[in-house]
Symmetry: C2
Subunit: 314 residues, 2 copies
Amino acid sequence: MHAEYFNGFYRGEILAVSRLMSVVERGGEEAEAILNEIFPKVGRAYRVGVTGLTGAGKSTLVNELTRRCRLRGQTVGVVAEDPTSPFSGGAILGDRVRMQDSTGDEGVFIRSIASRGSETGLSACANELADVLDAFGRDIIFLETIGIGQLEYRIRYSGHTTAVVLTPDAGDDVQSLKSGLMEIGDIFVVNKADRAHAQRYADDLRSMLELTGSSREWLPPVVNTVAVKGEGVDELMEAIERHRAYLSDGGRFEQKRIESLQNRITTVVDEKTKELFWKRDHTKRMLEDLLEEVVSGQKSPYQAANEIIAAQPR
Amino acid sequence: MHAEYFNGFYRGEILAVSRLMSVVERGGEEAEAILNEIFPKVGRAYRVGVTGLTGAGKSTLVNELTRRCRLRGQTVGVVAEDPTSPFSGGAILGDRVRMQDSTGDEGVFIRSIASRGSETGLSACANELADVLDAFGRDIIFLETIGIGQLEYRIRYSGHTTAVVLTPDAGDDVQSLKSGLMEIGDIFVVNKADRAHAQRYADDLRSMLELTGSSREWLPPVVNTVAVKGEGVDELMEAIERHRAYLSDGGRFEQKRIESLQNRITTVVDEKTKELFWKRDHTKRMLEDLLEEVVSGQKSPYQAANEIIAAQPR
């Protein structure tokens, strides 16, 4: 299956990796077959998660980081969640435009993804596409993700180093940061650091990290950048390298790998189990009947749910 | 169980509703018992979802809307996802401060929630807290949520009317909006409409909605507001009322209620099934053994997942 793609893939052809990624992105059995095939080759790339809200400047930062990696002779893969326009199936305009700098260079492969139907699906897919680039032999993979709320936690598993990109906006204060974001960041980037309040914001952030992180072995550094001018990007690159050196100590890297693999297994099991569950005729019928009782007020949704659960074999 | 709270709750005591909400927020069996008890009283309140990114001005808008509801003699409940600070279990500073206007009035009840461990948990919890306020007799409930990516889809089920709050920022363009956001909005609010580019942004948004929504029965209106000055909030209130009138036509309201109840049942089943699944000794052992094989490269995570699924009774 897809033998011609694999041949091209192993020969290092960009078109082949692109096609394999399209199949992986669609999901299903074909995707799984590809991921099984490439799995033995996955694990060599260093993965850097770059997360933050829309407009924080993630793409520009990734572009600048990519350029620096290329200067060192490293090959780069980028997987980016991307706004999907209703006008097309994929990305139009928006962030992607700013990354055109790196195109035309075969040492850089950029892939935007839309969602695969669920938030779990989205992150799972990003990780899987990174796997393809990893097996393809890319040295560094940047995962650019719009992190918010609990979603950021996922990135902990997919990136070896996670950089959280923030911007100092008038009226924002560091204390309104979600604790989730505080916990996942290995490095904090204050981008658009030429704005008013930026230094104050960075200082507050640093104090907060020191306060909350006193028990952590790795105290996340705060790096100021102005991505559009390339300012601070060298410092960010150094911070990433320092964190990489830290991870390679004392089995931390291997521990992350194990956690990531366990997370992958359980996510796949959960998604498939859920799908199988609601496809069964028996479950479907039961849901229909119980929904009627809930709608008419005879049962609560919780009682209905418990009945469905109790009816399962175990 | 919790009889004293229920007595107070039925007598309309704010302290009792607050305590019941705390139990519901913790989740588990006690939460379920409360939700079962109140279910027959749930369904009278009108629910308005207000969703958008941090900093869009959702809280200020909700505060302004709340004031107008109060002037009409309606009681209001607010459930808001809130940044959780590492300094305290709940919300500190941040958005909540701006809503203090309405406090001291027993006709307004504001509840901030943190996460209950998963993105599904978070929205489920927001809906459940809204149920408590609904059963308590509030006329209008505002659900203020940080919507992003697929998460916004959840709100479709929890709010009768969903207002998506956007802000025109330099360099933003309407086409970079996620299609998910486009789909869930019944009303689009361009807040901070006194900024440069705001009118252009609103016009683009309107054109886009007309283009994509030509097949929809309800064409979402675009309302310009400057929430901090209270500008445009009356128009937003009118838009909400118009959408409410639209829903009450031709069984749409009942259809939404049924969808919402079905979604609640399946969400509870999915969450509980997942939890039960990984608690079984058999599954735990299997995961441990298979993880070893995956770590050593003998199997891929997908092969491991399939083995776990295949070993389940059905």
